[in-house]
Structures are given as structure tokens and as C-alpha cells.
Symmetry: C2
């Protein structure tokens, strides 16, 4: 009965230090804020406040705001890779599964537009070569390369240099995703699915006569 007013929120948590993995909690909270209100709305002060931690506690785990954003981007690439691999494997590593990968890629971007922008929008400071970010980015790319190599082995795809081919495919889905997110395709634009389907169909036949 030491507390006289149990209904009131305590000003300080029982344990003064953050319990568990503060670094992880910071990234999660940052992702949540970015998804909900956009990158511009992300402030270190608000993130700290949300976690019941001072606004400078973050500097124990990240060099600066850019480093936090790099972690957010890395997290995004990990999620993206998992979804790509799932589409590929669930579809039986077939040409149809390749199709599903393309749709999954664009769907991820449309579903998490702000997060996707952090992954690609140049928010991470230029000089920085964040190791985790580089690895996760390369990992997502590798999922695409693996699928292409498999298709080539099965005689379904031209024998182009796999990395060059992968960069080309990546540019297509990335371009589609970005244009859709930025609402640059105009009001009369077709649905994302239709765009992806058209792109894949033209990759099948070429566009020239």
C-alpha cells in the first residue's frame, strides 16, 4: 500500500534501465514510426520517449541517426529476402514461381512504402558503408540470382551472365515499385498486378517485332 494513487502512471519505470535489447527495440520502434508517419516524422527524441528512455540513450547503440536508418534499411532487406525466397519456393522454383517473386517484390514495396524508401532513398549517409546493410542488401539480391540460375539450369532462361541479368530484372521491379510509391504513374495508371504481369509478359516476348 505504499502507492497512494495506483491509477496514475508512474513517472519512471520500476527498473531505471531499459530491459532487454534496447538496440532491437529502437529499430523496431523506428520501423513502426516510419511505416505509420513517414521518414520525415522520425525523430530520435520521439523514439526514445516511446520506449521510456532518454533521447540520448540511442547513442549507446548507434553512432547517429544515419546509423539507425541503416539498421532500419537492413531490416527491410531481410524481410524482403524472406518474402522473395518464400514466393520462389512455394511456387516450386518454376517459371511461375519467378512470376510470383516479381509480384512479391512490388507488393512488399507497396505495402511498406516508407520503409522501402529508406532502403533505397539515399537516406543513409553517403560515406558510410554499413556492414549489416551491405550484407542484407546483397542477400536479397542473391535470392534473385539464385532463382535465375536455377531457371537457366532448367533450360527456361537465356544463358546470359546471371548477375547482369539479375541487375536488369531488379531494375524493372525496383523501377515499377518506386514509380508506384511516388504516384508517378498518373491517375489513369493500371493496378500494380497488371503492370507486373505486363512487364513479365514483355520479358517473355521482347517488345519489338
Amino acid at each position: 500500500m505504499a502507492r497512494s494513487h495506483p491509477r496514475r502512471l508512474a513517472r519512471k519505470p520500476a527498473d531505471r534501465y531499459h530491459h532487454g535489447d534496447l538496440r532491437r527495440a529502437l529499430v523496431t520502434e523506428a520501423v513502426r514510426t516510419i511505416q505509420a508517419k513517414g521518414v520525415d516524422a522520425l525523430t530520435l527524441r520521439a523514439v526514445g520517449q516511446k520506449l521510456g528512455v532518454s533521447r540520448t540513450a540511442l547513442y549507446r547503440h548507434f553512432a547517429d541517426k544515419s546509423a539507425l536508418l541503416a539498421a532500419v534499411a537492413a531490416e527491410g532487406f531481410r524481410t524482403l529476402r524472406l518474402q522473395l525466397v518464400r514466393s520462389w519456393e512455394d511456387g516450386g522454383r518454376s517459371a511461375e514461381a519467378f512470376n510470383a517473386m516479381g509480384v512479391a517484390y512490388v507488393t512488399f514495396a507497396i505495402t511498406h512504402p516508407s520503409h522501402y524508401r529508406v532502403m533505397f532513398g539515399g537516406f543513409v549517409r553517403d560515406g558510410t558503408t554499413d556492414l549489416e546493410l551491405a550484407q542484407e542488401g546483397a542477400g536479397a539480391f542473391q535470392a534473385l540470382v539464385d532463382a535465375l540460375v536455377t531457371l537457366q539450369r532448367n533450360g527456361l532462361l537465356r544463358q546470359d551472365e546471371p548477375f547482369l541479368l539479375a541487375r536488369f530484372i531488379w531494375a524493372i521491379v525496383h523501377g515499377l515499385a518506386m514509380l508506384i510509391i511516388d504516384r508517378r504513374l498518373g491517375p489513369g495508371a493500371p493496378e500494380p498486378d497488371e503492370l507486373v504481369r505486363f512487364a513479365l509478359a514483355r520479358l517473355r516476348t521482347g517488345i519489338f517485332i
Copy 2:
């Protein structure tokens, strides 16, 4: 001989008001700063100072920073359109000229990475539908559509719906441009020219067997 120290810079310009078109000067200076030091380095205070104007003079011509960035983006789309049209016409509106347009697009982005990012990076406030920006963006897109329609008329291109086809092509060059700018293609990536050439070659044959 009223001035006792001619060598010293005058604190104030002879005429207290900015001469000529301040709006135009603000955009030009913003473009210059962005190109030289990136979007993050753009501050309204610095722009004003560079033009010998107070830091709030800008608000006579733009609602806020986002509106200035919209004008910067619109300017970028205009320049891009001019370069696309020039490549198309100088190449004789041929299939080869179409090729040149693709190279010109990616070249523009690589030559003006920060400016290009402003055009697409979601810097312009979401709610805003800046008229000038919408028009210039549509104009650049139309240059691509016109070229495609001409190629179709000449029997060089499949008779797909031109706008759908244009969005597909746009996604490809935009995706290539963004990945290159963001240095996402890795250290072993081929030169931009090679990427564009490969993309166009695969658009010719398709990628499947």
C-alpha cells in the same frame, strides 16, 4: 569619393530589393546547392544568404520548403524532357534513336544524381499536387509515349497500349538510374552504358528461351 574603403565589400547591395526575378534566382540557387552538396545540405537560410536576401524573403514566392523543392523537381523534368527529345530527334526518330533516348535518360540521372533524387525521392510533400511539377512530369513522360507511338506507326514495335508500354520502359530506365545512383549494384557492376545496352537488347529478344 564618398566611399572611404572601396576594397571592402558593401554590407548591403545598392538597391535594397532583389533585382529581377527572385523566384527564378531561388530555384537556380537551390538547384546549384543540391547538385553541389546534396538535398540535405539545402537550407533556406543559406539560399537567401547566397542571393543577398533575408532568410524569409523566399516565402513571398513559395509557400514553404516543399514548394521550392517542387519547383526544383519541375525544373529537372523540363531539362530531362529537352534532352530526351533532342536524342530522339537527332537520332532520326529511329529504333537507334530510341536507344539513344534510353542512354540519355540514365545519363541525366547519373550526371545530376541529387537533382534526380528530388524529382523522385518523395521530398515533395505528399498532400501537395504542385501544378507545374505535375505538368512537367507529364511532359517528360509524353516525350517517351510520342517516341513509342512513332515506332509503332513505323511497324517497329508491338502494338501494345502505348501508355502501358511507356510505363514499362520508364520503370526500366528509372530503376537502372536509381540503382546506379544509390550505388546498389555493387562494386563489380558494369558501366551504365553496358547496363542500358543489355536492357535494350533483352527488350528486343525477351529473356526467355
